[in-house]
Symmetry: C2
Subunit: 237 residues, 2 copies
DNA sequence: GATGGATCAGTGGCCTAGCCAATAGTCCAG
DNA sequence: CTGGACTATTGGCTAGGCCACTGATCCATC
């Protein structure tokens, strides 16, 4: 490498572990042969030699697959498929889809509407303060010409916290990365941040007034507004 | 199988792997010493001897922790904490809570209400047939004095399928085990299965009529009915 | 005929020992 | 002060081996 390369270097070069490659080869092999739940993998010794790795490495790969829930390894018996594949990860299963925006909208609508309603019922004064703070942050961001992506997330995060439901919060966190993408698209539209802020205000007011139905309605309208953008973008393709 | 032994045997006795114990010891050690993101674990050789296991086994444990996202292992450098702990798994985070029923109700309400509405919009004739089949199964189960737990799951599964949203389906699957528990409790109440079946019928009718709002309302009422049981049980404790 | 014990082959669990490869720090030459 | 070489430390992976568990089979016993 010589001087000029001041631009971005290709990659931090993520090193792949052997066990990862082995795990992928195994799952690929499973798909190819159309194996299903209950089917057996070959014995470790055989599989290891077939893959050209040591039994220790294969064992690591199996541990990984077991943790993810793809297989269950039974002492003295063998390694059995669970048919779960990678169902555990919500996100990855969806990422493959090209036109996944509508689905994200659906689930946002489902979760956030409920969250808004719960927040209206359960919010404390502290929760309210956090929500207001997020509104101020967004106000300021927009005034400075920023899109307010972070402030947007801050707001929704504050509302989620106010709902006081670990399960809902956890689930939101699970799909956070997907939602983030839709946010970016939405807030990139000219004039959209302002609209979004107004939506937030309506939601905040309903939560302040402890009115679950109004909060749900406001959140629903807000998500719908975002969906316009998404659908529009879907047509562009 | 001989007739008499119809009682339940103690347990299928789940065997614990050494690497699992090691992984737990490590996480426990992390908590005890209040280690945070960026902190290092001791070298493998040392850690292995301190824990009294071989390096190979310790390595398996680290693979498991790496897959879950607790640590990142860097060749030639060491093992570094990520501070993520186990945020990825929705379920486990909640299992710890003693009184988690209300939260399950909340998220069921959020997801299934939306799912019902979508099902009403998008259902095909095949979807409808599957839903009706589930109703018949439950009808029969109840007539035979069964609680109809499986038929209940079959129905909700059919509705979820009819919603044609992979993301929602995925999320439902993610919390399926939690919901299953709440189902068991609900359907164990005398007279409850019959009530539940009526609720299902109302939902099915709305979906058949392609009426999203009615479907959502019916599903909401259905989930509410279940929640009565749950809350009642919460007071028992 | 059914039950229960012994046996045996196949399979995973775990270990020891060792070499290879990457990293980061140090020191030295230019 | 920069760049290269060296070195200690650390993880990556392999080989080979013993032990424990599982399931099937056979056989003695009741």
């Amino acid at each position: 490498m010589t001087p000029k390369a001041s631009a971005e270097l290709p990659t931090p070069l993520t090193r792949t572990r052997l066990y990862e490659q082995v795990a992928e080869q195994i799952t690929a092999w499973i798909r190819q042969n159309g194996l299903e739940a209950g089917d057996r993998l070959p014995p470790e010794r055989e599989l290891a030699s077939r893959l050209g790795v040591s039994r220790a490495t294969l064992s690591q790969a199996l541990v990984a697959l077991e943790v993810v829930g793809v297989v269950v390894v039974r002492h003295g018996d063998g390694t059995i498929l669970t048919g779960k594949h990678s169902e555990s990860r919500i996100v990855e299963a969806i990422r493959a889809h090209a036109d996944r925006m509508p689905e994200i909208i659906d689930i946002r609508d489902a979760l956030e509407t409920k969250i808004a309603a719960l927040a209206a019922e359960r919010r404390t004064e502290d929760d309210l303060a956090a929500i207001d703070a997020a509104l101020d942050t967004m106000e300021e961001a927009i005034t400075h010409g920023d899109r307010g992506v972070e402030a947007d997330e801050q707001f929704h995060g504050a509302v989620t916290t106010a709902a006081h439901s670990d399960l809902l919060a956890q689930t939101m966190r699970e799909i956070a990365s997907l939602i983030r993408e839709s946010r970016l698209e939405s807030l990139s539209q000219p004039g959209r941040p302002r609209n979004s802020l107004n939506g937030h205000r309506a939601i905040a007011d309903a939560i302040r007034a402890r009115d679950p139905e109004a909060a749900a309605a406001a959140m629903h309208a807000h998500v719908e507004m975002v969906s316009d953008v998404a659908l529009l973008r879907g047509q562009e393709r």
